[in-house]
Structures are given as C-alpha cells and as structure tokens.
Symmetry: C2
C-alpha cells in the first residue's frame, strides 16, 4: 500500500510486509472458487479483508501494549502510538475504498460492504469483551469465552467466506453456508491457538513458554485447566498467572502442570466439534480443488501444534 504522507503508509504496511499466514484472503478466494467464481473476481474482497485484519492487529497491539508481532516491533513501538492509530484507521478506510472501487454488479458490492461492516463491529465488541474479561477478577464461563472468540476472531473468518460466496454470485443460501463454515472454522482456530499459547512448543509458536499464563489470558484451555487442577498443580498454575514478572521456571512448571492434567485432549475435542460443523456446511458442494483446499485448511487448523 503506497500513498502520501509516506510515513503513514509505511506504518500501515509494516505488519503486512512482515509476514503472517494470510488465512483470511485465502478463504475469500477459495470460497469464491468453490461456487464457480474465479480468483481474480475475489481479489479485491480478499485484499479488503486482509486490510481489516491488519487494522485490528495494529489497534489491538496498542490496547494490549504488545511490543512484538511476527518477530518485528509492533507498529506503535516502531512509529509511536498516534501514527499507529492513524495507520489502523487508514487501513480501515482503504478496505472500504477497495470494495467500492472494484468492478462488479452494485448489489454484490452492497452485500460485501454489509458483511464487512458487520464483522468490523463484531470484532470491536469482541475486543471489548476480551479487555473486560482480562481486567475482571472472576473467570468467564466457557459460553462467555466462545461468545468473545466468536466476535473477536470468528466474525472476520465468517465474513471472509461469505464475501467469497458473494463474489462468485452465490445466493443467500450459499452466503449463509459459507458464513457458517468460516465462523466454525474461526472458533476452532482460536481454541487451538489458545491451546498453543498455554501449552504449545515455543519453537513452533514463536512465543515465550507459557506466554498466555504470564499474561493471565482467560482462554478456554486455561479455564478448563483451572477447573480440573487441585492442590500442587493448581498452585503451580495460579502462581505465575497474570504475573508479568513470573520466572521462566515458574512458567515451565505451570505448563508442566497443565500438560499433566490431560486437558489437551478435551480442548482438541472441542475444537474438532466446531471443525465438524464447518465441514458439514460444505457438504452440499461437489468435490474439487477449492473444496479440498478449504478442507485442508480445516485440517491444518485443528492439527496445529499436535
């Protein structure tokens, strides 16, 4: 992304150029292809979704006071908070510009904007729920956790797949099925991601050992571990929980304790339950490259770190 002032667009492109998995644009394109559309017909929507994703990363890093992402300094660490706020805002603006300025029947563009705007509001609401969960003393219920994740993470996956369906000229039934695929995949993705944040191999996650325990993140695996732990195991988990100054040995002991509880299987079962619902949403569609690609993505998501 280029433009003037150059510094603003450099800040806006900082995370995009530092890597990332590009899951969401891939989902827009494959959802479009599943319904007989072309990759080129989905590219503008794919770019818009990735820009929105990057906008949320830039602003979330400010709110969460995170210093590093994808192995590089976050935008506000590198450019300062005011420029980072603006960089997020300009990504947000350009995402809608890309949608409105690309050629397709106007009723489809309106459906795309509706989907994207709905997802953006959900992501804001989900981040607010996350901020308040982190700040409160009590533990959320698994249902509250899934509501938060459904908005903060899965809403944009949902929009990505629904938008792919719209780009292909799919009807409202197709749009709803692909939305269901994306939403359930998104929840499965986040649950697996959270499992890796608690008990994942630091070599694979590129995050410090026990990162989410130190940050006091009340994710599903943490809630399940705390629900199951007694005595010494419980103390090993609660001691470094939410303590920014926790020692490496304490965090290692907490990760050991979580692993010893055998909750990994139960967490992965929960993720697989959402993955099965995602798979079911694709059932009406014939086999082919795009369906294989979406199913492969689903397999990747639930097997990560296993």
């Amino acid at each position: 992304m280029r433009g003037e002032p150059a510094e603003l667009y450099e800040a806006a492109s900082h995370l995009v150029s530092s890597g990332g998995k590009r899951l969401r644009p891939h989902m827009v394109v494959e959802s479009c292809r599943l319904l007989g559309g072309t990759k080129s017909g989905a590219l503008a929507a794919a770019a818009a979704v990735e820009m929105v994703h990057n906008f949320t990363l830039v602003h979330d890093d400010i709110m969460d006071n995170d210093d590093v992402r994808h192995g590089v300094p976050t935008v506000h660490r590198r450019f300062g908070t005011p420029v980072a706020i603006l960089a997020g805002d300009v990504l947000f603006s350009k995402a809608y510009g890309v949608l409105a300025n690309s050629r397709r029947p106007p009723d489809r563009t309106v459906r795309l904007v509706r989907r994207l705007a709905g997802a953006c509001a959900d992501v804001c609401e989900g981040q607010m729920l996350d901020l308040r969960m982190a700040g409160s003393r009590g533990a959320p219920t698994p249902g509250e956790y899934v509501e938060m994740v459904g908005k903060k993470t899965a809403a944009l996956f949902e929009a990505a797949c629904a938008m792919g369906a719209v780009c292909a000229g799919g009807g409202s039934g197709d749009e709803a099925r692909l939305a269901s695929f994306g939403r359930n995949l998104g929840i499965a993705f986040q649950i697996t991601d959270d499992l890796m944040g608690v008990a994942g191999d630091p070599g694979a996650t590129k995050k410090p050992v026990g990162n989410d325990i130190r940050e006091g993140k009340k994710s599903l695996p943490v809630l399940m571990a705390l629900g199951a732990a007694r005595g010494a195991a419980r103390r090993a988990i609660t001691r470094p929980f939410g303590n920014p100054g926790a020692k490496k040995e304490e965090l290692e002991a907490a990760v050991e304790a979580v692993r010893g509880l055998g909750i990994e299987g139960a967490v992965r079962d929960t993720a697989r339950g959402y993955a099965r619902r995602a798979e079911a949403a694709l059932r009406p569609y014939g086999n082919g490259e795009a369906k294989e690609s979406l199913e492969a993505l689903l397999g990747f998501v639930v097997k990560r770190g296993a």
Copy 2:
C-alpha cells in the same frame, strides 16, 4: 447508538450526546433537498457522516492528548485510551453498516461508500500532515496549510454534500458541484475556526484565550501573523508559542499583538474567497428553501466570531 457491551456504546455515544454543531448531517440533508430529494432519503447518509466525524474526534483527541471537548472530558479521559480507540473503531464500522443496510438503489449505495471511504482516507492523511507540521521546527507555507486543511477538515464536508446529491439521485455533475460546494465551505470554515483559535473571544469560542498559540498550532492566521510581525510584536507572539506552561498574561499579550497586526481582515478575505467558490457551485440551482439554507450556512461560517 446502543449495543453490547454497553460500556463500548456509551463511550461511542459520549461526544454525540454532549452536543456539537451537527453541521455535516445538516449539509447532507440540505444538499439532498436542493436536488429535489427528501430529508428522510438523506438521513442514513447523514448519520453515517456524523458517526465518521465523531470517530475522527475521538481518535484525534487521543493523538493530540486533549482533555476536554464540548465542555466535557474527552472519551479517552473518561473511559481510558483502549476503550476510546475501540469506541472510534465501532463508530467507523457502524457508519458503513448504516449505509449498506439502508434501502436505496444499490448503485447509489456504492457511490456513497466510495465517497465516504475516500474522505476517511483523506482525513487520516490530513491528520498525519497536521501531526508532522506540529512536530517540525519550520513553518509550513500557506499552500501546505491549505492542503492539510483540505484533507483533515474539508474532505468530510465535501463528502457530506456529494453524498446528499447521491441520495437525491443526482448525476455525476450534481455530485461534483455539491462536492465543490462542501470542499470550499470546509476550507473557509477551518480558516475562520483557526482565526478564532488565535484571536477569538474566549466567551464565544469556549476555549482559553490564545489557545492555539499555547498549543503552537501552525494555522494560516498564525503563519500570517508571524510573517507580518517585527520587533516587540514578534517577541510577544513567539514567547508563549507552543509553550504549554505559558502564563495567561503572556497569552493575552500575544493575542493583543496578533490583533494589532491587522491580519484579521486578510484572513477573513481568504476565507471569503473560498466561500465565493462555494457559492458559485450552487449557481446552477434555482432558489428555494434548501439553497437558502446552504447559503445561510456559508454566511454563518465566514461571519463567525466577527
């Protein structure tokens, strides 16, 4: 604006409910009526523009570290910076949602989204130019000042009027004329606003005396004053300029010095030049309530504080 989590929507509505002139939604409605459209046909677009305006206020106040707006604490002072960032983001999201979810021919909605997204990107670029002007040692040229103001302020006025034209079903010629009206009115508005920030009556502006001098704002009237001032008058202006700890007497002396230079006439002439261009854009349209209302707005803008 209501929704859950309640705190997020309370923060997002904080400035809206504390007042403000509502110039931009008024401009959407009157531009629509000028072309034979109805008020109700313009309301969704008017709401979207006002939400975007409020989003920019919330984020600008964070960047500029401002404590008070419309006589109440700014959103980040009242709710904290993370919630304020999110409140701005949710206003932004809902603005596009309102456009995409209201009923009108889809090609018009696409034109509205295109206009609003273009203005949003311009506003970000303008704010970035403003941040850099404030942070640099040198003085911008009047041309650089007008470029900044054209993006930071006038772009949304331009979009507001163009969007009103689109809501009325106007063609691209109408859209361009109303855009020109809004843009030129916006520049005239900001120049007059800046004049009041430097030498305005604190009773009328509701800002402390010499507010923009203390903040070191390099606005057109300041640039013109510094260009004209010599000797003691120059020292009186530069001493408190950009000094957050400047004393009230120093600021009063600076305001006196600015007034003594007689630049107010020249600044108002510049604003009136833009107002005349705005007026010319309306010339093809017949007289009537809406035209009178838009011309009255123009008169209000250039006469403010005089």
